[in-house]
């Protein structure tokens, strides 16, 4: 149909974002899926990051990724504020699984040391104690409610904790952990 209107088209340089696409694909995001985003904004309409007022929320993140704007993600920490709530996955009409993009971007950023310090602390606790979140004073809190000071988890089970650490040495942590695995 003749509308008499011209559509603006941005010509993207394929080479420019191929590298980034490859990285994202390796980090678990399907590029075929990503490219089918129609920028309808449904993900943003339901995203707690957007509701909380983070400017760089999911729809923009998807858009920037399709444009190959890798550097943005190394400068802006918004992807680390994602709640992993999966509202966007549930609601996206194109089944893009935007949350999987967030994870893929985090994985790429992590390898560039662009991650918040609590990720490193959590990871180190996870490796050393078996728990990412260890808030001091747990022994007393447990005692207060009539439970043994140590839970039956890896924290209270040295043999299993050692085995768990051995197991983790066979994961990618051996290459990318920002602390020694000893």
């Amino acid at each position: 149909m003749e509308t008499g209107r011209e559509t603006n088209v941005i010509k993207l340089d394929e080479e420019f974002f191929k590298e980034f696409e490859k990285e994202l694909q390796e980090a678990g995001m399907s590029i075929k899926d990503l490219r089918s985003c129609i920028q309808c904004g449904k993900c943003a309409g339901t995203c707690p990051m957007a509701l909380a007022g983070l400017e760089f929320f999911i729809k923009k993140i998807v858009h920037a990724a399709t444009l190959g704007l890798r550097e943005i993600f190394l400068d802006d920490s918004s992807v680390w504020g994602c709640q992993s709530c999966n509202r966007c996955v549930e609601i996206c009409p194109m089944e893009i699984k935007p949350y999987e993009l967030i994870q893929a971007i985090r994985r790429v950023s992590f390898r560039e040391y662009a991650m918040p310090s609590n990720t490193i602390d959590g990871l180190q606790n996870y490796y050393k104690l078996g728990h990412a979140v260890v808030v001091k004073g747990y022994e007393n809190r447990r005692k207060k409610v009539g439970l043994p000071e140590l839970p039956p988890t890896a924290l209270g089970n040295e043999e299993m904790r050692k085995k768990f650490q051995e197991m983790l040495k066979n994961t990618v942590l051996a290459e990318v952990a920002p602390f020694p695995l000893d």
Partner: protein, 298 residues
């Protein structure tokens, strides 16, 4: 006798063990044998392994699920993040056998294996489906005596629905948590912000003020519409926000209300007759009024 593997995670055993106490108390009263998952770890939380590597995440979750498989039990958890992380990892491995194979190579190095037969339950779905509302009612000692409950289901308990084998019929209009509150004598009306996120988690770490404001926005609507006397959460992280963070906000003069909060396991423990000093012994927002009302509400 029914058996279930109790998956603790991090926040429940280390920060709010009163939820752990309550889960144990309730399962016990319901005649479910608790099997300890010795050597279980963090689920792993979304901000760590899942943000670094897909196979590494699945290996971490499979470590936990393999412990349950060895003991031939399914898993129950009171934490939404644990429920999400374990189930999503399970789903990834089910859909992608090559990931499962890689994971088993990693686990095999320490003599472990993940079969993929374990089911991961969250607390309220287990009560709802495996025990049933009628059976639950028989085990109740005190009634909630019409206490108005403001329910917070928790994001991970509902979405991504594809990864979950048990869920509300309509994941955008959940009723199960509310039905449980009402089965034990409470009132649990719908309110317009019921689906909103509590803001606890990554958002809270990255932008604390914004995430607190998100919670206040949600809760002020809830108060306006249903005026709850008690908050009831389906997730331990939500409880940290509703109780521990609420207490901090009150101290800082950011809110002018004070509404006690419990995890659904704590609510059931209280109505089944658990000692409040243990079942809600670590609550920071004063909860005595609710206890009195429950005890007077036979």
């Amino acid at each position: 006798m029914r058996k279930i593997g109790l998956f603790l995670g991090c926040n429940i055993p280390l920060r709010r063990p009163d939820i752990e106490y309550s889960m144990r108390y309730v399962l016990n009263k319901l005649g479910v044998e608790i099997v300890e998952l010795d050597g279980a770890t963090c689920c792993p939380a979304f901000g760590i392994m899942p943000s670094i590597d897909l196979v590494g995440w699945c290996a971490g979750s499979a470590w936990n699920m393999a412990i349950a498989e060895e003991k031939e039990v399914d898993i129950i958890t009171g934490c939404g993040s644990c429920y999400g992380s374990l189930n999503e990892a399970r789903y990834h491995m089910e859909k992608h056998p090559e990931i499962k194979e890689e994971v088993n190579k990693i686990l095999g190095k320490v003599g472990k294996k993940y079969e993929g037969v374990v089911k991961v339950w969250n607390f309220y779905n287990y009560i709802y489906e495996e025990i049933g509302i009628e059976e639950l009612k028989k085990k109740i000692k005190y009634s909630l005596n019409d206490i108005v409950c403001g329910t917070q289901v928790g994001c991970h308990n509902l979405w991504p629905s594809k990864a979950y084998t048990s869920n509300d019929d309509n994941v955008f209009k959940p009723t199960r948590m509310r039905e449980i509150c009402e089965a034990v004598g409470g009132k649990a009306p719908w309110y317009s912000t019921i689906l909103d996120c509590c803001g606890m988690g990554a958002l809270g770490s990255l932008a604390k003020e914004k995430s607190w404001a998100l919670w206040r926005r949600k809760v002020s609507k809830m108060i306006e519409e249903i005026n709850p006397e008690l908050f009831v959460t389906g997730c331990s992280s939500c409880l940290l926000r509703y109780d521990n963070d609420q207490a901090q906000m009150k101290k800082g003069g950011l809110i002018d209300f004070e509404i006690p909060a419990v995890h659904i396991a704590q609510l059931l423990a209280l109505v089944m007759g658990a000692e409040p000093e243990k079942a809600v012994g670590l609550a920071e927002v004063p909860i005595d009024g609710i206890i009195t009302k429950i005890k007077g509400g036979k």
